[in-house]
Symmetry: C2
Subunit: 176 residues, 2 copies
DNA sequence: TTGTTTGTTCAATATATTTTGAACAAAATA
DNA sequence: TATTTTGTTCAAAATATATTGAACAAACAA
């Protein structure tokens, strides 16, 4: 369903931006994708805008097209730059920074995968180790039966984690 | 770092629950995992509580152990039941429903994968089709050059999606 | 140097999500 | 039947997250 950025589905885009429908829709797609990946909607909208832009856009242009503030543009572009989804480009006789989308989305997604999911997997592993350590610390508060039960169940978790660790590199290879 | 459910890291667990440290920690792990997967924290905490429980727990027991309300327990257990992460069990001479964790987490995660990620992939595919349709609708508002550029970029997206579609079943097989 | 433009930060505001708990419904008991 | 127990719903409150915009800083121009 066609939808202008930030506007309810039924209302047409409010005035200034004047982008063709297809671009407004991809802005919305980007926003939704960002949300489902745990990023602010505006970050995805910025990428969606730049992805279908014929030329690099300045921060004020982005803000005007999406009706978002200077601050949000600054924060959003910083995040996208850090993830490698956009780059700064120099535009002749312009002092403002300009941004363009990195089009190699496949590569970008795999690098985002690296940064996000690998770190998460590592954290999860460390965390589970800590839980297993604290099982021994809690030993005195428990009956031997309870201790054995918890130990067995934590070992199940460790096995799942091991399995996950093994197939993650395979996914990486497939994504690249 | 050890942490009682819902309490700041430095404060000990407030009174009634009296669970050993290791169980409090797994509750926290469950809560964080749920959050990273887009579920309410309390849903993960309920699973974490049940996962290390020697016996099935009633709704009031869950609420008391986690210091959450009747309503949250009801909502949380319903979600976990729908996902297949817990099951109801009948406990002799008890009228209350009792809940226990499904321990086959690997299986559960793959079925949750099915339900969530497959639907997302399908939605994304439909959505991109719609965007491509609207490119044709917007044709008159654009120069031929702009049209060609957008068409090319949308085709790139379609390719990425196709690739993603291909490797998703492989991941599934690995997870199972 | 001063004045202007551009970009960032962050406290305040707005928005979205989760949790609560009172009101209700459903089921079991007496 | 009436009474108690158990479970659900959903509007309101609490919490978490995103956005704004004024104040600040940094870069450049004159």
């Amino acid at each position: 369903m066609p939808m202008a950025a930030h506007s309810p589905a039924t209302t047409p885009n409010s005035g200034t931006s004047n982008l063709p429908l297809v671009r407004l829709e991809l802005i919305d797609v980007g926003g939704r994708f960002a949300q489902s990946a745990g990023f602010p909607r505006s970050v995805g909208e910025i990428y969606g805008l730049l992805y279908l832009s014929a030329k690099p856009l300045s921060a004020p242009e982005i803000g005007e097209a999406l009706s978002i503030s200077k601050g949000s543009v600054s924060t959003g572009t910083r995040q996208l730059l850090a993830l490698g989804f956009i780059r700064k480009v120099w535009v002749q006789s312009e002092r403002k920074d300009h941004f363009e989308a990195v089009l190699e989305l496949g590569d970008m997604l795999s690098s985002a995968y690296d940064r996000i999911f690998k770190v998460r997997a590592q954290n999860a592993e460390r965390r589970l180790d800590a839980v297993q350590d604290s099982l021994e610390l809690s030993r005195k508060e428990m009956t031997p039966e309870e201790h054995a039960l918890i130990q067995e169940r934590l070992e199940r978790l460790a096995k799942i984690q091991k399995r996950a660790k093994q197939f993650l590199p395979l996914i990486e290879r497939l994504i690249r």
